[in-house]
């Protein structure tokens, strides 16, 4: 058995995926077009722009923000975002004194409907391990130096709950519209490894 397993692991993943695909297709369990559509959806349609819309709405509509913090899944669904890995959402508000960071220590849980699929670093062993042990050090690697008085809260995505960080609205953006604000919000700021910056002033 161990020799056979060895053989299997020597077969490259691309070949194993092809083998699975042909076997599942023979059983009528998958359809090529449906798979193509799924891939296209996750590559092109579902991504952090969805989360940015949620954040910009929360920044500009206090009533929405209150709903978002109370029942995130429902408030996010209002904007049309729901689905696998977004069933049980919780929004964490960053403030001047509290900074939230999200990690999945055991695998790669991530709120797909609003952020898309996770970046490579999020799934990496160093991030999964060190975000909990040394969050300040990890944030520094992302270029985010937080003052010592800011409390860092690390949230380990469990099997059930998916987190979205609501970053602080940057100063000097009072005159910006919701759509303009949306463009400022980055994926990393919604995971909590970055802040949102005001646009550079142009001369």
């Amino acid at each position: 058995m161990s020799a056979e397993r060895h053989t299997a692991s020597e077969t490259g993943p691309a070949v194993r995926v092809k083998a699975l695909e042909s076997l599942l297709a023979e059983k009528g369990l998958i359809d090529q077009k449906a798979l193509d559509l799924l891939v296209e959806t996750y590559e092109q349609r579902i991504g952090p722009r969805n989360g940015a819309k949620v954040v910009a709405r929360a920044w500009t509509d206090p009533v929405y923000k209150a709903r978002l913090l109370r029942d995130a899944s429902a408030a996010i669904a209002e904007l049309g975002f729901s689905g696998v890995q977004g069933e049980d959402m919780m929004v964490l508000e960053n403030t001047a004194t509290v900074h939230n960071v999200v990690v999945c220590t055991l695998c790669s849980c991530y709120p797909w409907p609003i952020l898309g699929l996770p970046p490579v670093w999020y799934k990496s062993a160093p991030y999964r391990s060190r975000a909990v042990i040394d969050p300040r050090g990890v944030l520094r690697e992302f270029g985010l130096e937080l003052p010592p008085e800011v409390e860092i809260r690390v949230w380990d995505t469990s099997a059930e709950v998916r987190y979205l960080v609501l970053p602080e609205r940057p100063a000097g953006t009072d005159s910006m519209t919701e759509v303009q604000l949306e463009a400022l919000v980055t994926r990393d700021s919604m995971i909590g490894v970055a802040k949102v910056s005001a646009p550079a002033t142009r001369r």
Binding site: G12, V17, S22, Y42, W121, V132
Partner: protein
């Protein structure tokens, strides 16, 4: 929390920006198949996730400095998917291995067929 992988040294987080969602086409196919069968109700997401966690954990080498599991993530994913299919009796491991060796043998067999008809079956 005790299951969190520990690193003896300071292993840098492999920062990359603007990377593609999938690093290779097979990753995308593995992902899509896992999702498609979940949506059919072949298994719960929790079932898949538990196997994925075990797979990642068993592959972790404590203290392996410079370990960047990122290219391997979808390999863990694929192994977990294979195990789940086997557990559910959808595709057993032997079937998969047979089909995979058929597929990987196919190109060279075609080459061999050019000018000889010897039967190489074992």
């Amino acid at each position: 929390m005790s299951r969190i992988p520990r690193f003896s040294g300071q292993v840098a987080v492999p920062l990359q920006q603007g990377e593609p969602v999938f690093q290779a086409p097979w990753e995308a196919r593995a992902f899509a198949m896992t999702l498609a069968l979940f949506e059919q109700g072949q298994y719960s997401w929790k079932e898949f996730q538990e196997i994925l966690i075990d797979e990642i954990e068993s592959a972790a080498v404590p203290g392996a400095a410079g370990l960047d599991s990122s290219p391997a993530h979808y390999e863990h994913w694929l192994r977990a998917f294979e195990q789940l299919l086997s557990k559910k009796g959808v595709i057993i491991e032997e079937q998969l291995e047979a089909r995979a060796s058929e597929l990987s043998a196919a190109p060279s067999r075609y080459d061999d067929h050019e000018d000889e008809h010897d039967d190489h079956e074992e």
